[in-house]
Symmetry: C2
Subunit: 181 residues, 2 copies
């Protein structure tokens, strides 16, 4: 079904609205009425563009998951400092998607098994890349660098939680402190 320009623009408004609501009001607060209200769209138009409310939400969540790791191949992101920097950049540069990502990971992705697995696999990929970088840097054992990576990433995630709680918290500075211990 080919789309005219107005349809594509409405689609974008709906996605933006959903993104905004997911980050601020969470899953529960992201009702259809709220999405429609913010997007200035009536339900008829919505269902002309999407099959369900869940489809839009899942679209936005996938977007957030992919945004966590903008360099899936790991090209030129091999040092600990670069990996930590990339994480800091994600959290501070895209707070809306970061919040959605963390909410999804904690709250479970709407009982969507595939999505939950996707979050986990992204997380594990980041841990093992961090572990590799640590091993390359310090020359410790595989097991020890794995533990180090887990603790470092946990610390970073915890600091991100703190920052979401308190926007005046200097997340970037604390994250670099943590990485240089």
């Amino acid at each position: 079904m080919a789309r005219y320009r107005p349809g594509l623009q409405t689609r974008d408004r709906i996605l933006e609205s959903t993104r905004w609501l997911l980050a601020r009001a969470g899953l529960d607060g992201t009702t259809l009425a709220a999405i429609l209200d913010r997007a200035k769209v009536r339900s008829g138009s919505f269902y002309n563009l999407f099959d369900s409310k869940d489809e839009v939400i899942l679209t936005v969540i996938k977007e957030a998951i992919n945004a966590v790791d903008p360099h899936p191949d790991g090209v030129g992101k091999d040092t600990v400092e670069e990996l930590v920097g990339a994480y800091i950049e994600f959290i501070t540069g895209q707070p809306t998607l970061a919040k959605i990502y963390l909410q999804t990971a904690v709250g479970g992705a709407m009982n969507d098994e595939a999505l939950a697995h996707r979050v986990l696999s992204h997380h594990q990929t980041r841990v093992s890349r961090l572990a590799d970088a640590i091993r390359r840097k310090t020359g410790t054992t595989k097991a020890k660098s794995q533990t180090e990576a887990e603790l470092l990433l946990a610390g970073l995630n915890g600091l991100a939680f703190h920052w979401l709680l308190d926007p005046s918290f200097d997340f970037a500075a604390r994250a670099r402190d943590l990485a240089s211990r």
Copy 2:
């Protein structure tokens, strides 16, 4: 309003039912109908004993949070190890409540103002008690121990986050690793 024995027993059944549901079905699954069904009570009786569904849920969550405090009575006695142990016990012993706790921290999972405030104040209490314990142990300044406590709790929260993503993750072991640094 003095209660007869049947009323008190019904109250207990409702609390048990809510406890059971919260631990297994989470917040979303703990509907009034589910509570009533399991407690073998009709809505009229329920509202003769409680003002709202939220009141019961709040009661159960408070109960769980208070149950893991090492020294509920006297602040100033607990050690860093005890507090970390209590946190580990809270996360592993009450995974669903831990989830609710983290969801609230990220913001958006709960539109219940009172519950959000309760969980947040619990968090702050934990930070300051941890800071006190650190100061008692190392003799650092108040500001530095506060920072240390915040970092430690951030790390613990991050580890809990990891564990929620991956149940095979050895949360308790990593948490102790983190605390013994």
